[in-house]
Symmetry: C2
Subunit: 350 residues, 2 copies
C-alpha cells in the first residue's frame, strides 16, 4: 500500500484474539487525517515502537491500562514530527515522543507529548534511551537490587529489555546468565554483549545447562517470560533472591504451546512449589510497570548516555520498514522472532 | 506414662513422613538426663511451643533450617527453668526461653538461652509476647506495610499468628477480614477479636462470601495457608497489594486433601494466573522467617505489652497437658483443630 501523505493510514484492532493473536486481529485502514483542536498538535509518526505489553491491550480484561477498543487504533509510543500545532509549546518540525499509536498521523493533546533532545538516533528514544532502557534500569537496580558479585539471570536475554538488563548487570559487577531462544542469539549475548553465559531454552539440555551456568545459584531473576523458563529457574534461586516481574510473554498467547507451536499438555499445578520456594528462600517477587517510575528517568538517562558514549552498552535494533508490516512484525515479536529492539520505520524523513 | 523427675522423657522423630505426618512419625523415649558441660545449663521444660513450621523440620529437604535427624529430638522453643548451671550467666530457678525441644530436660549452651523478664503468664513468651507475636508484627507492618484504611485479609485467622495479625491491623485502622475453618472460629474472630468479618473456608459459599466481605478488594493478604485459600484471594487483590508469606500449612502434608481428608484431584496449573496478577497489579510477595528479624523485638515487645495491658489485644491459648500428648496435638494443629496458640504444659511447676 503506497503512502499518500495527505491521508492517514492506521492499524486498528479488528477482533480480540482468542489465544494467539493473528493477522486477522488487525486491519489497516486509510482515512482522512485528523484535525488538531486548540491545545492539540498534529504529529507524523517517524518511528513506531512494538512491545510485548501491547498484546495485553488487545484483551478485554482488567489490566493496568484500558484495553484497545474494537476498531480502535492500536496503542504505541512513537517518535513523531510536529506537522501542525495548535499549542504554543510545540512548533512545526519539533521531534517528540508521542502516545500516538500505530498510524501515520495523530492529533495529540500537547501535554501528552515530550520534546526530544538532540540525539544521534531518534529511534533510540523508544528503546535504550527511553522506556525500554528505563525498564531495565529500574527493574534490575531498584526492584531487583542487584549487587556486585551476585548472579543475575535474565529471560529474553537478547530482547529489547533483557539485553540492557544484562549489560547493566555486568557494569555493576554481577555474573550474568542470559536465557534466549536459539544458538545465534545466545552467541551474540556472550560475544557481543559480554554476558558470562547464555542458555538456549529450546535445547533439550536447557535445565541442566542453566544449572551448570549458575554454580552459585541465582540471586536476581529478571522475569520477562514465565512458563517453562520460570519453572527451570525456581530450583536455582538463592536465599533472599529477588524476582522483578517485567513481562510474561509465555502467557500472552492463551494456552501454552510447545517450541514447535503445537498445543502443550496441561501442566500439573506447581503453585505449591513456587510458594514454598518463596517462603523457604525468603524471596521477594514484585511486578512493576515502567509508567509508575517516571521519576527515575533523569538519573537513568544520564547514566545510560554515559554508558553508551563509553561503548559499555551495545544496542541492537530490529528495524521493520513500513506501517503496513507492523502486524506481522508484532506477531513475530510475540514468538521471539525479533532480534533486538523492534521498531517500525513509518516515514522516511527525520 | 508417669513422669519420673530423675529421668528425661523426649519425643524423637521415628520416621520421616511421606505426605501427612502420623503418630508413627514420633516415638516417646525415656532416657537418663543429660549432664551439662562447662558453659552449659540444664533446663527443665515447663511449656513447649507447637508451631506449624516444625512439619518442615521433619523432611530431609533443603529448608531454612537443618532437618531434625532420624531418632533426634523434635526441635521447639520452650519456657524452661534452670535446674543446674555450669555458666555464670544463669542460676538455678531462672526462667528462660530455650531451644530445648520436645523433652523434659536439656543441657543447653548458655548463649542459646534468653532470660525471661517477670511476666504474668510465662507461656505467653512462646506466643503473643514472643516469636508468634513478633511474626505477626513484622509480617503485617514491615513486610505487608499495612496502612490505615486498607483491607487486610488474614488466613488461619484464629491461629496463633493470624489472630494477632488481625488485631494489630484493627489497631492500625485497617478493615480486617479473617479466613478460618468453621463457624465457631469465625464467630470468635468477629465477636471477640473485633474483626470486621471472618469467612469460613469450609463453607460452599466461601469464594463468594470472601468477595462480598472485601468490597474494596484486598490490599494486604497475610499468607499462612496457600492452596484453595490463596486461590480465592488472588482475584480480589488490589493494585500494589502485598503478600507477606509467613506459612503454607496447606502444603505441609504432601499431596492436597479435601476438607474431609480424602485425596483431592490434581489442580490445573494456575501459576500463569498468579504470575499475571503479580504483574498486572504490580504486587509484591515476600517470604520471611522471624529468626531473621530479631532486631525488631524491642520495638515489638514494648508495643505489644502496651496493647495487652490496655486490653486491645486478646490472646487465646490452647493448652495441652503432658509431653506425651504433644504428637497428637501437633497433628491436630496441622489440620486446624487447635483454637488459639498451641502450647504443651510439660511440668506443673513455675
Amino acid at each position: 500500500m503506497s503512502n499518500n501523505p495527505a491521508m492517514n493510514r492506521r492499524v486498528v484492532l479488528a477482533e480480540r484474539p482468542k489465544g494467539a493473536a493473528t493477522l486477522g486481529s488487525f486491519r489497516l485502514e486509510t482515512v482522512a487525517p485528523p484535525q488538531p483542536a486548540p491545545g492539540e498538535v498534529l504529529v507524523r509518526t517517524l518511528w513506531l515502537s512494538l512491545d510485548p505489553y501491547m498484546r495485553g491491550r488487545m484483551n478485554d480484561a482488567p489490566s493496568y491500562a484500558p484495553p484497545v477498543e474494537l476498531g480502535g487504533v492500536m496503542t504505541a509510543q512513537t517518535v513523531s514530527r510536529v506537522e501542525a500545532s495548535q499549542s504554543p509549546e510545540f512548533r512545526v518540525g519539533d521531534l517528540v515522543l508521542a502516545p500516538s499509536g500505530w498510524q501515520d498521523l495523530a492529533a495529540c493533546p500537547a501535554k501528552t507529548l515530550t520534546r526530544l533532545p538532540k540525539i544521534e538516533h531518534p529511534s533510540w528514544a523508544l528503546g535504550v534511551l527511553g522506556m525500554t532502557g528505563l525498564t531495565a534500569y529500574v527493574g534490575l537496580l531498584d526492584i531487583g537490587k542487584a549487587a556486585a558479585g551476585e548472579t543475575v539471570a535474565v529471560a529474553a536475554a537478547t530482547g529489547a529489555v533483557g539485553s540492557i538488563v544484562g549489560q547493566i548487570a555486568k557494569i555493576k559487577g554481577c555474573r550474568v546468565v542470559g536465557i534466549a531462544g536459539g544458538p545465534e542469539k545466545c552467541r551474540w549475548a556472550v560475544q557481543e554483549l559480554g554476558f558470562d553465559a547464555c542458555i538456549d531454552h529450546r535445547a533439550p539440555s536447557f535445565k541442566d545447562s542453566l544449572a551448570a551456568a549458575c554454580p552459585k545459584g541465582i540471586d536476581v531473576y529478571f522475569e520477562n517470560v514465565g512458563g517453562a523458563i520460570l519453572r527451570a529457574v525456581v530450583p536455582l534461586l538463592n536465599t533472599h533472591a529477588r524476582i522483578p516481574v517485567c513481562g510474561l510473554i509465555a502467557y500472552y498467547g492463551g494456552a501454552p504451546r510447545t517450541a514447535d507451536g503445537g498445543a502443550a499438555p496441561p501442566d500439573p499445578d506447581w503453585v505449591p512449589l513456587l510458594m514454598r520456594t518463596m517462603l523457604v528462600k525468603r524471596m521477594t517477587m514484585q511486578g512493576f510497570i515502567i509508567f509508575e517510575h517516571d521519576d527515575r528517568h533523569p538519573e537513568f538517562f544520564a547514566a545510560m548516555q554515559g554508558w553508551l558514549s563509553e561503548g559499555r552498552i551495545k544496542y541492537r535494533e530490529d528495524v521493520v520498514q513500513g506501517l503496513e508490516n507492523a502486524p506481522q512484525a508484532f506477531l513475530g515479536l510475540l514468538e521471539g522472532r525479533n532480534f533486538g529492539k523492534l521498531v517500525v520505520r513509518v516515514a522516511d524523513v527525520d
